[in-house]
């Protein structure tokens, strides 16, 4: 694996005069796991939107390896190897668990290619592996619409595993989960993290501590502090933002 670095510098996003991101800088090295925390409205989701092509930055540089992310659309960025897990799990309700995973499998994505598509034995094995890893084997033929909240999250994570992205963006993966579900999710993410770069956005500081990675704190659209969890928790500016003055 060649390994590409995510590089954001001077990124600003302005919506109707509101600066959602203000001169943001972030570098994620190949294979690194990074947690991004910050109060509501700090710009965490907007940052994800910029990286995945959903939002065009007003100013600044965003690159992945040699590719300029600010000039590509969502599909092109996804094909580049950047996967995204949304805060609210979005799976295709009318399709079965198996079909959801099959759609995410790396393969030619054009209409003609899809018309002529035949799932190979290898592809089927891969889908089955991911169903085993996510614990969804029993639900293979069920439409995704009838899954529980936790199962939907895992299915979405499973779809990311199928996409096999080089960089994975994960938005609040454990929000609204029971403790057991949180544990299972953390284990799944840890397994993915071994092979890929991961950026996790999370509110839950305990969960971030458990990840044991470098932490970036956002505040009002820019980086307030960066370092180990102990470092940022003891940073007086972070304490002020989180605990109020």
């Amino acid at each position: 694996m060649k390994g590409r670095r995510l590089y954001l510098d001077g990124v600003s996003v302005v919506f109707d005069g509101f600066r959602a991101l203000n001169n943001l800088a972030l570098v994620v090295e190949p294979g690194e796991m990074r947690a991004v925390i910050g109060p509501n409205g700090a710009g965490k989701t907007t940052m994800m939107d910029v990286i995945t092509g959903k939002t065009r930055p007003t100013a600044g540089i965003a690159t992945f390896g040699d590719s300029d992310l600010t000039r590509m659309d969502e599909a092109a960025i996804a094909n580049l190897g950047i996967g995204r897990k949304f805060q609210k799990p979005t799976v295709f309700d009318a399709l079965t668990v198996f079909e959801n995973l099959e759609l995410a499998l790396k393969a030619p994505r054009g209409p003609i290619a899809c018309l002529r598509w035949i799932l190979s034995g290898e592809g089927r094995t891969r889908v089955e592996e991911v169903m085993t890893e996510t614990g969804l084997t029993d639900r293979a033929q069920d439409p995704a619409g009838i899954l529980s909240h936790g199962q939907r999250q895992w299915l979405e994570i499973g779809m990311l595993m199928m996409q096999d992205p080089e960089l994975l963006l994960v938005d609040e993966p454990v929000a609204g989960m029971t403790d057991a579900e949180t544990e299972h999710t953390a284990a799944l993410l840890a397994r993915i993290a071994g092979k890929h770069s991961v950026v996790v956005v999370e509110h839950d500081l305990e969960f971030v501590r458990a990840l044991g990675c470098r932490v970036t704190v956002l505040h009002e659209g820019s980086v307030l502090s960066e370092g180990s969890i102990d470092h940022v928790q003891n940073d007086p500016r972070v304490v002020e933002v989180y605990l109020g003055r």
Partner: protein, 363 residues
């Protein structure tokens, strides 16, 4: 064939529907034959029923095409009648050219309306329509290119939902106004009529009617199988995914614009074919075919039958048109109220249409 579909045996409902469909096709296929029986015979099928069911078959093809766009790809087109009408006009142009010197004015090349309007020569866009192969190509190409341009502009700009519906509706309305104009060269509000022959067959004979009927029936079966194949492949599942969560599909790396365009263009071509089969059977095409009401009626057929199921679309086209034919002679003033009421009732009580009702029974 999807690998997953192989794992589950077809349900009883599905087998029942399949048997019903094959039965219905055989029954329809027998109509022109039973028409030959003496009128006193119990199994005699009247000329009226043959011609009206030939029309319904064309409507069923239009319903299938709309279902592919709306039921599967989530593109609610309120202007599919325009593609139907354009296919019809392309066929009409061919039929007009075949009249030759047999028109009222006896001009060797120009159709009657052109002589009447003082045309000196055939407009350039009428050239080639005397050739049947070229005309058939245009039947597919003209609606296809319009869908390609309109779809590309809309899908690229991510215009979806009600805004897209309004644009398609405006498109068919604009075309209607354009085709009403005499200087467009399509016969103005009279359109085309007085057709004489097609493929060397005089159109006013029973044999020609039967041939057109069978051509329509075969087209319906072929279009159904084509749609079924498309929707059973991974492409069909991508369309369903786009319908339900368009932006999520983009993050999986699919070019949503291209996928929607492909479905929209295929659908428009199918609608054009339906129009082309319709025109020689009814013997006339005029700008009224572009009227927005026609497109909305087609949406009602699909909604009543059950959108997102191909059998549903066909069933809807036949049942709503059957009701219309009966009601417009029994109580002509009521039809529009019934049509509106039907749409409201189906939306409120039968979101899956008649097919949903059958599914409910099947369980």
């Amino acid at each position: 064939m999807s690998a997953t579909a192989l794992d589950t045996p077809p349900s009883r409902l599905r087998l029942g529907l399949r048997a019903g469909m094959i039965g219905a096709v055989c029954l329809l296929a027998a109509f022109p034959v039973l028409n030959q029986l003496p009128e006193t015979h119990a199994l005699h099928v009247s000329d009226f029923l043959v011609s009206v069911s030939g029309k319904w078959i064309c409507y069923a093809i239009l319903a299938l095409s709309l279902d592919l766009a709306w039921g599967y790809a989530g593109i609610l087109s309120l202007g599919h009648g325009a593609f139907f009408a354009l296919g019809g006009y392309a066929m009409g142009m061919h039929l007009m050219r075949l009249i030759g010197p047999r028109g009222v004015y006896g001009h060797p090349v120009l159709p009657d309306f052109m002589v009447f309007l003082g045309y000196r020569e055939l407009p350039w866009y009428w050239l080639g329509f005397d050739n049947v192969a070229f005309a058939m190509l245009m039947v597919l190409l003209v609606p296809g290119v319009l869908a390609l341009v309109l779809g590309w502009l809309c899908f690229r700009s991510r215009i979806t939902g009600v805004y897209l519906s309004i644009i398609t509706q405006a498109m068919t309305y604009a075309l209607m106004l354009a085709f009403f104009r005499n200087d467009m060269g399509f016969g103005g509000n009279n359109g085309f009529t007085d057709f004489k022959e097609l493929l060397g067959m005089p159109l006013n004979t029973g044999a020609a009617r039967a041939a057109l009927f069978y051509a329509s029936l075969v087209s319906l079966v072929v279009c159904y199988l084509l749609c079924r194949w498309m929707t059973a492949t991974k492409y069909g599942r991508v369309l369903t995914a786009i319908r339900d969560a368009e932006s999520r599909v983009r993050f999986l790396g699919y070019d949503v614009t291209r996928h929607k365009l492909f479905a929209f263009v295929a659908s428009a071509m199918m609608a054009g074919l339906a129009g082309a089969l319709y025109v020689p059977q009814v013997g006339i095409i005029n700008p009224g075919e572009f009227s927005p009401g026609n497109s909305i009626e087609a949406v009602v057929w699909v909604a009543v039958g059950g959108r997102g199921t191909l059998v549903g679309a066909v069933l809807g086209a036949f049942s709503v048109n059957g009701l219309k034919t009966w009601l417009t002679s029994a109580a002509p003033d009521l039809w529009l109220f019934v049509l509106g009421g039907l749409f409201v009732a189906v939306t409120l009580f039968l979101p899956k249409g008649l097919i949903g009702l059958l599914q409910g029974r099947g369980k």
